[in-house]
Symmetry: C2
Subunit: 215 residues, 2 copies
Amino acid sequence: MKVELFYDIVSPYSYLAFEVFCRYRALWDTDLVLRPAFLGGVMKATGNVPPATLPQRAPYLLRDVHRTASFFDVKLGFPSEFPGNTLAAMRLLTVVEREKREKLVDLSRALWQRHWGRDDDIKTPAGLVAGCVEAGIPQAEGEKLVERTGDPAIKEALKAATDEVVARGAFGFPAFFVKPLSRGEGGDGDEMFFGSDRFELLAHMYGLPWRGPKP
Amino acid sequence: MKVELFYDIVSPYSYLAFEVFCRYRALWDTDLVLRPAFLGGVMKATGNVPPATLPQRAPYLLRDVHRTASFFDVKLGFPSEFPGNTLAAMRLLTVVEREKREKLVDLSRALWQRHWGRDDDIKTPAGLVAGCVEAGIPQAEGEKLVERTGDPAIKEALKAATDEVVARGAFGFPAFFVKPLSRGEGGDGDEMFFGSDRFELLAHMYGLPWRGPKP
């Protein structure tokens, strides 16, 4: 099946969903298509607000993110700034999506690890280049990729991905769209899921095995 | 372990959580304590709003409720009025919680089936008495229980349960609190969960088996 995963580094539940799809890629015979997009734009377009905005909900979410990450075996702390500004990071991922796709998984994970794992910089060019190096991209090439984030075409591509996911019904991240490949490549048959807690349901719906977050 | 489940008939995900706890009661050796409370009061106290209030989210929620209910094997349609007014129904459950506890499971399920399964009346005394009969309570006794919903002590008890769950951190339903009995009966050690999608996590945290929503 084909899975399009829309995500933003600002979203910890997106990180968990990303790791589960990476782990199940072979077992579920998945064509996993990573779609970096800007969650701030989704929130603005739909009128949604981060769930932690509700004061009574914030402490629960903090607790839930950590116990869920522990269950998923993903290293996750909490950034000192939340929600952080991930616009530059998402532009960098857009560059890599278009120009160095084979590094998109590694760079996404490296940026999540910087931001959520170690509360490290992902806003400045230096922080982003460091993320590239951690993802196995040579420093000089990382610098060139980061430079490209100022390109209007890149800014426009990120905006287009964000507009697209809103048009397809998303109101938050992770949002992913599942389509059995046998149904062909048409726009029909997409099923949208939201969050990192619908994998068992997804597996049930498509007749796939679910062996927990660590298969 | 002891599980206190706070719920309102207005909440379809509460219905799903209720059925899972009923099904796992023996397997998890659970002291399941049903705590009817008024979700409208929780929302008002915390400033929360129903998730379907966000226009972009409403169609997703409708879809998700139905596909999840199908996976959980719970019969669930959609009431013509949503969110419906469940104050009278929750007062009736409060009467039964205090005065006929052995029927609390059956009556909760009967009211959910009326409201979510068949879009049937749970607002008028006649509708509530019909629910009692469906739960195996003789008609005459059902009428007496429904009459008791006007008692100020019952109204106050429902309000007290609602205030209690807010004080314990809830912002929506289902909210449930898990405590391993070995830790004693003190207030410490409670772990709060929200929603019908944290059972696998709960099982992992307490070393219990998870065999899906139909064990």
